[in-house]
């Protein structure tokens, strides 16, 4: 940081010096007639500035890039992520060529062709061949970039594989809730936003038998390593966006329109801790669509682990019905027996469900 400030300070000191020197000379005279061939004021200094800024700018950009690299995200932890990263740096590499070339020409020409006394510019209004060249060359480069990008995009957004682990993630002001299909059927039950209350935060529809073993978690998402994970993404109130920076995953959560994103994570949290030599490393999920006051802190942690640990974690989670057995009242009578599997017998008393539901409303309305 000190170096940057020092560098900037140096640039400004130099600039100010030049400026003051110039001011002394020219501040008194502003020519009041058409000054035919007189040297325009400050022309030489400004011409020189183009070269100064070009050289200092090139050094500053190269140096700052080297400095910034250590803060970039580590190598992607998903298969498609490494592909888009490669594509990104490949594209950046290609684009650096015109960036340098064009800026060099602008700055260099400005200096080289600055006003000279008794000199006349060349009258050069057009050249069709040149125009054709710089239409076609960018077009070909674009075609190349479009093609590589399009291939990657279609693969990433293709239909998810059948064996993908399906996990639902719902955004609300201001946290995420993840829901799993459960260890018995591993299928997500239906939902309906009208069923949402303080406990049933994502509106699980308990008349669907697939929902009986669903479990949810507002603080942590676990996913297995090495196989496709399909995120089913929903929003409860306003727009949110699921962003898993290390996985290069992003997809908006839209109220009323479920979205999805599938990817294959291939580095566990432990792998990353070893790779980065940081025992505290955690994958994080953030929100990237402005959603209100708490937008900047809408976090849920992500744990990537091997298949066995993942299975173990899933089996340790208590299902929604186990946590809130009063919701058994919402299960249709013909399915009650199935729903009660795995529940302690005495909790199956439906009497207090209305009380909790109203408590839910009041708790819900206190969310700001």
């Amino acid at each position: 940081m000190n170096y940057i400030i020092a560098l900037v300070a140096l640039v400004f000191v130099v600039l100010t010096g030049i400026v003051i020197a110039r001011l002394q000379g020219v501040i008194k005279s502003i020519k009041k007639t058409d000054s035919e061939e007189a040297e325009p004021s400050g022309n030489k200094v400004n011409g020189a500035m183009f070269i100064v800024v070009l050289v200092l700018g090139a050094i500053a950009i190269a140096w700052s890039y080297m400095h910034a690299r250590e803060y970039f995200l580590p190598e992607a932890s998903s298969i498609h992520g490494r592909r888009t990263d490669d594509l990104f740096w490949f594209s950046m590499g290609i684009l650096t060529i015109p960036f340098i070339a064009v800026n060099f020409l602008i700055f260099f020409f400005s200096w080289k062709y600055q006003h000279k006394k008794d000199h006349r510019a060349s009258f050069y209004p057009d050249n069709h061949k040149l125009e054709l060249i710089w239409t076609i060359v960018p077009a070909v480069v674009m075609a190349l970039l479009v093609f590589t990008g399009w291939k990657a995009w279609s693969d990433i957004t293709s239909e998810p594989p059948r064996d993908a682990e399906v996990i639902e993630i719902t955004g609300k002001q201001f946290n995420w809730i993840v829901r799993y299909g459960g260890v018995n059927d591993n299928k997500l039950g239906n939902y309906n936003y009208k069923l949402i209350d303080a406990q049933n935060e994502v509106g699980i529809d308990l008349s669907d038998e697939n929902s009986f073993d669903d479990f949810q978690n507002p603080t942590e998402m676990h996913i297995p390593v090495g196989r496709p994970v399909l995120l089913k993404i929903r929003a409860r109130d306003v727009l949110h966006s699921v962003f898993i920076p290390h996985m290069r995953v992003k997809m908006d959560a839209v109220p009323g329109m479920p979205t999805k994103f599938w990817f294959v994570p291939d580095k566990t949290t432990k792998d990353m801790q070893a790779e980065l030599n940081d025992p505290n490393f955690k994958y994080e999920i953030a929100c990237t669509e402005v959603c209100g006051q708490g937008h900047f802190s809408m976090k849920i942690n992500l744990v990537v682990e091997d298949e066995a640990s993942y299975k173990k974690w899933c089996s340790e989670q208590s299902t929604f019905l186990q946590t809130y057995p009063e919701y058994l009242a919402k299960v249709p009578d013909n399915l009650k027996a199935k729903a009660m599997k795995g529940l302690p017998a005495e909790t199956a008393a439906p009497a207090d469900s209305s009380a909790t539901a109203s408590a839910g409303v009041s708790a819900g309305s206190s969310i700001r």
Partner: protein
């Protein structure tokens, strides 16, 4: 020249009819003269720019120097600064939102297009005034009304609109979702509706004037590129702003009349809303159908001004005049069919994403043509570094540097990671924000003598340029790094996540650079206002330029030209023509007077001069 002199008698006659004495209100307030209206737009735009940029400085302090005590802002911001001197997170979002709204619409649309379309169209095409002075006046006063409402919203207890300048519903539709979505959003929508009316009144006028009121001989292929850019900009605005109005009206319906255009399946504050069947994505489609052309509405006038200023000060014809027009038309056309590249990760059908990626990347081609043509115009020139010229050269650099990262973001696969990160912020600030602002500066420095009859101090202008140019790059190049590191935009602070809880020095650096650039603008403000009153007297044609505005009196009165309107015989880029005595030949000089420098095909045109001279269809002073 001789043509003008020969018509002296006719002019006296026409002149008398039109010197009705005007009182202060008619002359400066409800004025129908395009030059005064242009100045009204310019001054209002400058005031808005100061407000808009000040906001960005406040939130840059919050982002880059989060531990700083902001109590010194309490006299201005009052309750938005907490007891401990911290910025309120809701107000942070309001600042971000208002900064975007103000800069995009009030400064770079109204302030740039409003100023220079109004000022230059009649002067450069040789017209007495706009087609409808009254509509033109209305246009400004609708803008003024929109400004008052938007300004008023800053003082609401619940704060101004705060859902981002894109005001995506449901956040913007539901007052219970955010304090800024209450009265602040109502005023935002009302203000924008009036703003759109203002833009349409102005745009219709620009188009009509350019098509109908060109002076004799001013065919489309002799129009300066500035006028081409204003014409194309006005057409863009005329087609796209009504779509924004429709999206705004639907949002008003959703907010106040219980409709469900954008709302569906929402549970908020312990209550499931009855709205079903709407789609928030619909709003995004409607919004970006304006929002993307808006980028070019902001940018094209800047490019037009640059074309003119670079040619004049390189003392060379603009390279590839026709290619420049074609590329502007190409950009304008493509602007309408790329909007969904703002929506790659909204859950839109991936196939649509592919189509929009393809269309988006095509825009790089006409943009590249423009960039190369500017560079070739500099090549072998005889460059005079007036402040206007410096800002034009700076614009080309910023336009190219910022445009290149657009190729990354327009690639849907890469956009997955970069969408809504600081990479996007860096990209559009360079290519759209800073580049257009440079166009605005170039225009002000270049046409200040015509506006006020005085010169701005060139040295201060040059200093202003270098500080601003370097400052802009110091802000936005590092911002790309922050984006690559994954930092999401519109975050109040970066302490909540491990992946953003670092890189603090870079954010601090950006903020320091932003404050520095902000301070540098006071050089301009001082120079501008001081020179209006105390600047040196402007000569007739200070930049030795070819366009018609420099043939008017130094301070043109109502009707712009005394006597007959000038006739036009050539394009506006005859700089450094081989054989010519001077290194410029204004548009109103007939080929018959420049036999020494004519090309063979131009000698053939001498025969048409009599016919051109004889026409005088469009002089509004002769229309009775």
């Amino acid at each position: 020249m001789s043509a003008v002199e020969g018509m002296e008698t006719a002019h006296v006659d026409a002149h008398e009819h039109h010197h009705v004495s005007q009182n202060f209100w008619q002359k400066y307030i409800f004025c129908e003269d395009h030059k005064i209206i242009a100045k009204q737009y310019l001054i209002t735009g400058i005031i808005w720019a100061v407000i808009g940029i000040s906001m960005s400085v406040i939130f840059r302090i919050q982002l880059g120097l989060p531990d700083s005590n902001l109590s010194w802002l309490k006299p201005i911001l009052g309750g938005w600064i907490s007891e401990t001197g911290k910025l309120d997170p809701n107000f942070y979002l309001a600042l971000v939102t208002m900064h975007g709204t103000i800069m995009v619409f009030f400064v770079l649309t109204a302030g740039l297009s409003g100023t220079f379309s109004n000022f230059l169209i009649p002067l450069q095409i040789g017209a007495r005034d706009m087609a409808s002075g009254f509509m033109n006046m209305l246009s400004y006063w609708f803008f003024f009304l929109a400004s008052i409402i938007m300004f008023g919203s800053l003082f609401l207890q619940t704060g101004p609109a705060a859902g981002g300048w894109v005001i995506y519903p449901p956040l913007s539709a539901l007052p219970q979702a955010h304090p800024g979505s209450g009265a602040g959003m109502t005023l935002w929508l009302a203000s924008m509706a009036l703003f759109i009316v203002s833009q349409l009144l102005g745009g219709i006028n620009y188009i009509t004037t350019v098509i109908n009121l060109r002076t004799r001989g001013m065919s489309f292929d002799r129009l300066p590129l500035t006028i081409w850019s204003f014409l194309i900009t006005a057409v863009l605005g005329l087609i796209s702003f009504p779509v924004l109005l429709s999206s705004v009206l639907l949002l008003i319906m959703d907010r106040h009349f219980g409709t469900s255009f954008y709302l569906s399946d929402i549970y908020i504050n312990g209550e499931a809303l009855p709205n079903v069947g709407g789609s928030p994505i619909l709003f995004q489609h409607l919004f970006w159908f304006l929002g993307h052309p808006e980028v070019y509405i902001v940018l094209l006038p800047g490019l037009g001004i640059t074309s003119e200023v670079i040619a004049t000060n390189s003392r060379k014809p603009i390279f590839g005049y026709r290619a420049m027009i074609a590329s502007m038309l190409g950009i304008a056309f493509l602007a309408f069919i790329v909007w969904a590249h703002h929506m790659f990760v909204t859950g839109m059908n991936p196939f649509l994403g592919s189509v929009f990626m393809f269309l988006t990347l095509i825009i790089a081609v006409p943009s590249a043509v423009k960039g190369f043509n500017y560079i070739t115009t500099l090549w072998k020139g005889n460059i005079v570094f007036t402040p206007g010229m410096l800002f034009s050269i700076g614009l080309v650099s910023l336009f190219v540097s910022g445009g290149l990262t657009g190729i990354i973001l327009g690639n849907s696969a890469l956009d997955i990671q970069l969408h809504d990160t600081y990479f996007v912020v860096a990209h559009f600030h360079l290519v759209m924000g800073a580049a257009s602002a440079f166009g605005l500066f170039a225009g002000v420095y270049h046409w200040f003598p015509k506006m006020f009859g005085r010169m701005m101090n060139p040295t201060l202008g040059q200093i202003h340029f270098w500080f601003t140019f370097i400052g802009i790059y110091l802000i936005f190049i590092p911002m790309h790094y922050v984006g690559i590191a994954g930092f999401p935009r519109r975050y109040y602070q970066f302490t909540s996540y491990d992946f953003t809880h670092k890189f603090m020095d870079m954010n601090m650096f950006i903020s320091v650079a932003a404050i520095f650039s902000f301070l540098a603008q006071f050089i301009f403000l001082w120079n501008f206002f001081y020179s209006i009153f105390k600047g040196g007297r402007a000569p007739q044609n200070p930049w030795r330029s070819n366009t018609l505005e420099w043939t008017t009196p130094i301070v043109p009165g109502h009707g712009n030209w005394e006597g007959e309107l000038p006739a036009v015989y050539r394009w506006s880029y005859d700089y450094s023509k081989p054989g010519a005595k001077e290194d410029f030949i204004p548009q109103n000089i007939p080929y018959s007077q420049t036999l020494e420098s004519n090309f063979p095909h131009e000698n053939e045109l001498i025969a048409t001069e009599k016919a051109i001279e004889a026409q005088n269809f469009n002089d509004q002073f002769n229309s009775h």
